[in-house]
Symmetry: C2
Subunit: 422 residues, 2 copies
């Protein structure tokens, strides 16, 4: 395909992606689900699990082979920028304000699903076709552990914000615990990816490079970045030059973490955490979020969906594995978080709500398993099972939350309105 | 290259592009030039005219062959979205308020450069290697005519806005005349592209399709789009769903006009003109412009610069042609507009200012000649000469404007501050 043909194909493809993602998203919101659930499902529908199964010619026409690389790069940019913006919103103060409960919930919400994931991995690593043949047992264990203990942190933050729970015990607790869990899970993933590289030198490069990057960005980097914040305050806005510098730094961060063998999302997220707060952060969100969330993220959901082959989960053995993964993830995450919150003196309703919110995997799970697939740790069948798990746990969150907390809290005036169009 | 390698290369490439464009842009602003001049020059510097000439290995490492298609698609999206936003800002009221002068200036500013361009084309079409061998004389004449009579309309609008001239005689006159000229030039270009397609059927498809699209979008489309505006007013903001619908429509418009053989920028621009005004337009600008202008447009400048081969303008004959093109464009556009404004009773200072502003070609010229190169109407040497002309006329605009109008107007309090960071 020439560049001109590719750009014609791109415009049509993006129309299709935006239309399907929005359509399924609207349907999801009709039944009380967040937009992200709809887009996760939309991605799967556009892939070989539905469109490719029934209308393979149309699917090929909309997603010609050569355009997939382009879709991949766009989706990498999308999740990278998205995680950067999550980092910009990240509130490190939260750790301090409710430390004990948060520590207990997050440690349980990490260790229990990690342990269950690890046990599962010992079994699944022997089933052919799930993990890559190159994957050693400890890598499989660590990867599945990390994938099980992840939380849809940005989604959690959004639900809490939209329902007006930001200042409440529940909100603070869930946010702090979710943040700690996600940070830990990403660290484990970084170790897996580093170890999965070819040989010790590559692993050392990844681990040492990653640590050096993190330390540098969060210390010296944060200090230097303050100048950007001050410049924005002086100008009274985020000028195009400041935005350009920020995007340059993001590109550099994404390139560096990608090049040393971890992943662009790490670079983006840590850079976001180090960015100045206040006017600068608020305007950065306002200027980048619409395009990143509405335009680029659907590319990611679609790319992820194109790799999801639900037709591979078509026999008793695979269904059993899918069920075991789902059960382990719900019991491990939701159950453990509820128990930890109860043991730390939260009332039952709050504890149940924390468990429900923490159990939702959302976009984060898709990101982590896409990295696993892309780097060759897992293979399409296990990837598809994990996609199912991510969708089901995310679908469960809203109705369960309503059931155990929302309805009651709204009756007693403790909760704001239902989530708006997001 | 695998998708993963391509995305690593992309992050590094974008860092480089953003850095060079911003750097040269800042230097341009230091000497009183607008950012866009800097980015035009930055693109040329990154191409074979400088970086590729002296450091070919580094240039190849930053811009690997396979990444160029990606850069092309990104740049098409960038100019398409940019022209869409220009359309959204386009004020059709302007035509009415100062119709007579505007008509005179715009008709002279169109006919004279068109005539000079046409005369040049009769000569240049005989010089081998400038126009494509497939190009018939009348196509060469129309193309060069259109390319000569183009005005940097969005830049003109920005200069007028930034200097606080929006409501003045000069501002209204230049804006209205510039808008009419650009619209006419794009129509001529559409005819050239349509005729340049293989055979009559293709030309009919392009012309009929283009007219049908334009009529449909500006009548029925505009009516239907009002609902989007009303929905935004009801919600008090441009919700993500409304933004997604707008982007979907843009993709469809870009795809359609690209597929029928004119160009995505037409589809984008006309759709933008048809978009509802008020809150909707303001928020659309705010949500899309930062990313489109700061991130995507530099991709276009770079792609354009990678095609610019100033080393081909290296002998007396070529330099003579370049000089003739430059003289014809300045006399034809600047001179004719000044004369027309004088004849319509504007004072000399205002008339000179109008001529100066109208003479600047800016980004618009780059867009039109890139289309010409991409569709095979012109070849690299003529393309490079036209890039030079675009840069020189754009460089001239700011100091000349200061000289003939700005300094005096500022002394007499008729002018706002110098342009801010844009």
């Amino acid at each position: 395909m020439t560049g001109a043909q590719l750009s014609v194909a791109f415009f049509l493809q993006m129309f299709f992606i935006l239309a399907i993602c929005r359509l399924v998203g609207v349907m999801a919101r009709r039944i009380g689900q967040p937009q992200v659930v709809g887009e996760m499902i939309a991605g799967v529908l556009m892939g070989p699990s539905l469109l490719g199964l029934f209308l393979p010619e149309i699917q090929k026409a909309i997603f010609p082979e050569e355009s997939l690389k382009f879709l991949f790069v766009g989706s990498q940019l999308g999740v990278g920028l998205y995680m950067f913006l999550v980092g910009v919103e990240f509130n490190t103060q939260l750790f301090r304000s409710r430390a004990r409960s948060a520590a207990a919930v997050s440690i349980s919400g990490m260790l229990v699903p990690f342990a269950l994931g690890a046990i599962l991995a010992f079994w699944l690593v022997k089933v052919p076709g799930l993990f890559s043949e190159k994957a050693k047992t400890f890598e499989a264990v660590l990867f599945l552990g990390a994938a099980m203990s992840i939380t849809a942190f940005p989604m959690l933050a959004r639900i809490i914000y939209e329902r007006g729970l930001t200042g409440t015990a529940l909100g603070t607790l869930a946010l702090a615990a979710g943040a700690i869990d996600d940070a830990a899970a990403w660290c484990v993933l970084a170790i897996v990816l580093a170890s999965f590289g070819a040989g010790a030198a590559v692993a050392v490069k990844a681990i040492a490079g990653g640590i050096a990057y993190g330390v540098l960005v969060l210390t010296v980097g944060r200090q230097l970045l303050r100048h950007l914040g001050a410049a924005a305050e002086r100008a009274g806005k985020l000028t195009p030059s400041l935005l350009a510098i920020t995007l340059m730094l993001f590109m550099l961060a994404a390139w560096f973490t990608d090049a040393i063998g971890i992943h662009a999302v790490f670079g983006g997220f840590l850079l976001g955490v180090a960015m100045p707060r206040g006017l600068f952060a608020a305007q950065l969100q306002r200027q980048l979020e619409p395009f990143a969330v509405v335009f680029l993220l659907p590319m990611f959901f679609t790319f992820s969906g194109l790799n999801t082959r639900l037709d591979m989960v078509n026999n008793a053995a695979m269904l059993l594995i899918a069920l075991a993964v789902l059960l382990a993830s719900c019991l491990g995450k939701g159950g453990a978080c509820w128990a930890a919150a109860r043991l730390n003196g939260e009332d039952n309703r709050t504890a149940l709500a924390v468990g429900t919110l923490m159990n939702s995997r959302g976009l984060m799970e898709l990101i982590i398993i896409n990295i696993g697939l892309q780097k060759g740790v897992i293979q399409p069948p296990l990837f598809s099972i994990m996609v199912l798990m991510a969708i089901v746990t995310t679908l469960m969150a809203s109705p369960l939350f309503e059931c155990v907390y929302g309805r009651h809290a709204r009756r007693t005036g403790k909760l704001g309105l239902a989530p708006a169009d997001a």
